[in-house]
Subunit: 270 residues, 4 copies
């Protein structure tokens, strides 16, 4: 007979907001609009724990994922739909008031070099979270991080056009319902269009010259990049209800440290 | 004549909540109650940016730190006092509504092995943030992370006393005014007393036997560790006004993934 | 007309052993014995540079990969064959005496829980390198890292059977020709059979009890784990010519630090 | 009576090259030529293990360090002398043929801004290893990593002077006896003088303009940076017997990936 330690009275009756598994790894395949993505996410699945129970049943959280993703050849329509199914499966196995599943992964997308028109693969970092609180609808939080660059306008203006240039990282995070949440592709476009220039895996000399000229024609402070992401997201998602966060970071070429900018806006689709 | 690009009109009039420098490194020495600490923090200093200004003066943020910490032999009373001075110095150099300085660093403290009574150095991770919003008092946020362990009571109860044991990590974060904020030493005590056992840099065989017995007498779920941290903090800081957060993570020895628990309480010193 | 800076005389005539690209990301699909793997490697491609040339043509290194991996749906027989093709393609684009391609990636494999017999996905870390020096045959170096655990026999022997247990990491690295190099699956088996117990993504209570008993029946020092990996590899690969390296690390549950062991043997298939 | 598990016969009689502790943390203070350094190293201490012994006595490795570094106020002449003392102390506690101690740490040094002449602190990463094999003299291996930048000469030559600029990282590693090993300060100078420009924690506008002009006057491929480090080290250390390795990496501003160059030379002081 099993002793259900989890159901015992805890020593301290304190409600816990999140209990679960972290750094669990799995494999998923998605396909949307004819584009297939092979994804190796690091997974976190958590629920809340009432003050009067000692513990949760951890293995049921893992099972809610393994049962959903048992077939490695199965093709899913989106990460968000997988996450909803995991939380729905979990609701049948374990009671909770609040549940959340988080995937951190690398996401690949194809691009073309700007002049030589060669096909490349680019990769960005994605965090996708789906959350359920009581009977409220599922809420999704998607954060995408893409590498671009900045050309300093302040140095350029004071230094006869000479300036410093550096790698920069742009982040866009959106929070909304299943209906509101945008595609990863559109979020990547919002970020890439916010830098002095976007970056490429492959650049032949004619591409490199083109990109370098473009960068010098579009000098931006890190504050400009952050505001560009916010404004471009607001324009792109004006029909949806979304909370939108942006962060931009530049790996300064004249310093050992970085400079950063962060902001937040809200769109209202009504 | 200098062109002040920062004072220009931005393309998009959006307020930014944080703009500044990150991953800046420096050195500080503190001494409190006769204990001296050599600290090599990674520093972030940020201010907010009004919607009608293009940028901030980044070098003034760095100067607010370098001027305060220019003398490498100077001994400071605490990290919190250094951070207040940096923000006060910054207020003379640059206008802002909201400013924040964050240090991430390793913090050493001495301990004694439990039976052989030998002296050791232990090291934990600290994040210390000081924040100023308009005319409100300075608010501090201190997070400490210490390594301990867990012994699974559920497996022990069902398996004739055999169980699995693993390294665990406890985090305590407190938020409060300068008057309320506790010492790092007391926070370390709160966390270390919340594990199945605390851990040591050095253990002779007699110590190892003692610690191992103690662990088996005190089996804890990760949920128990998290609640212990919250309860011990509540007991220790009952006279202060603090917002208190705890996180516990265990690097499961029978799994490749971790398990986690998080919670929050508030103390009210009145 | 293009100025070929790379072909200029360098300021200092010094031969460089490795020049190339690093932290490039891509996607590949492999299938071997009916098992399909979706892999997102971080790629490094390098060649040597003679003392009398200023630089290499970096974009040709990237092209040697993008041309080989342009079709995201293409299924390759193995990572080693992809790497050989990249170096063969590169040989047509750029002269070199020594070339090397390295992939770092996560590799998934299916497993079954030991008692409840449920199917799980496990993930390990792989580094795969292929190297070509002048007219010598291609040499491969494969390193696999798997998570298991250790139960301390020294504490157990002195402490009435009570002991400490912890997560451990085993690494096996083999170096040999295309004919000699073993499958990833066999390398994973070698490592997993060398711990006190292997670990699982999912364990129901009956599995957890089984694994915990098995661990206590098989207490091992980190030195034992390292020697087990070496001996098991020697036994498994006795028919091949391989240089074999092992590393084992245990995340001690009674200490904040780790303990490690490393060794090397050679098999001779003759 | 203690059961000495370590002295038992191992299951597999295989010699292990390295057994010991890793990720141990401590604190040291050094002073050389009036400059004081507070260092928080991550420590690895290892010895070899003969084929006929099951294990080593791990706690004696830790004690060889804690006994040497027990007094937090003690000022040591150099990291190399501390490491020699640790290995000498260990030789009295535990037999070995080969022993090694490794410190990884951040090292701070003061600098002056190039035009405004303000004092700053700069920080670099250091790995310092001391090794003893049988009766041979102590051998030291010191690796220093400093952040600088590159300005691409190939793009500049083909693009009417427009080019891309980026943060770069230079590494210099030297191996030699106690007599041969250079100061950290001289190694930092070798690396900093090898970039398009060195970098600073603080730059006022006049400094930023100066640095930016200097960079454009000194465009360098990553291959050039690597060869500069090797040549400058050869020039600086021509009177010593040293094995010298250099690595340079540039965080390309027009790509998401990095480019790298590596090389090796030997100086012979005779």
């Amino acid at each position: 007979m099993v002793i259900e330690t989890q159901n015992e009275e805890p020593k301290h009756r304190i409600h816990l907001s999140k209990v679960g598994v972290k750094n669990l790894k799995t494999f998923v395949v998605t396909e949307r609009s004819g584009l297939r993505h092979h994804i190796v996410p690091k997974v976190e699945i958590t629920i809340d724990l009432p003050a009067d129970l000692k513990g949760i049943h951890m293995s049921r959280l893992v099972e809610s994922m393994t049962e959903e993703l048992s077939d490695q050849f199965m093709v899913h329509p989106s990460i968000e739909e997988i996450q909803i199914k995991i939380l729905e499966g979990l609701a049948h196995k374990h009671p909770f008031s609040r549940s959340e599943v988080r995937f951190d992964f690398e996401f690949g997308y194809s691009a073309r070099t700007p002049v030589s028109n060669k096909r490349t693969w680019e990769v960005c970092d994605v965090t996708a979270i789906t959350r359920k609180v009581n009977d409220s609808p599922f809420i999704h939080e998607v954060e995408i991080q893409v590498i671009g660059n900045t050309v300093c306008p302040h140095c350029m203006a004071n230094n006869d056009g000479l300036t410093h240039i550096q790698r920069a990282i742009g982040k866009l995070r959106v929070v909304g319902t299943t209906k509101s949440i945008p595609t990863y592709g559109s979020m990547i476009d919002v970020i890439e269009s916010s830098f002095s220039s976007k970056t490429y895996s492959l650049l032949k000399l004619e591409d490199e010259m083109h990109v370098t000229k473009q960068m010098h024609d579009n000098p931006l402070l890190i504050e400009d990049v952050c505001r560009n992401i916010l404004q471009h997201a607001k324009d792109a998602y004006s029909e949806s209800d979304l909370e939108i966060f942006a962060e931009a970071r530049s790996l300064e070429s004249i310093h050992k440290h970085d400079v950063i900018a962060e902001g937040r806006i809200v769109t209202n689709g009504d």
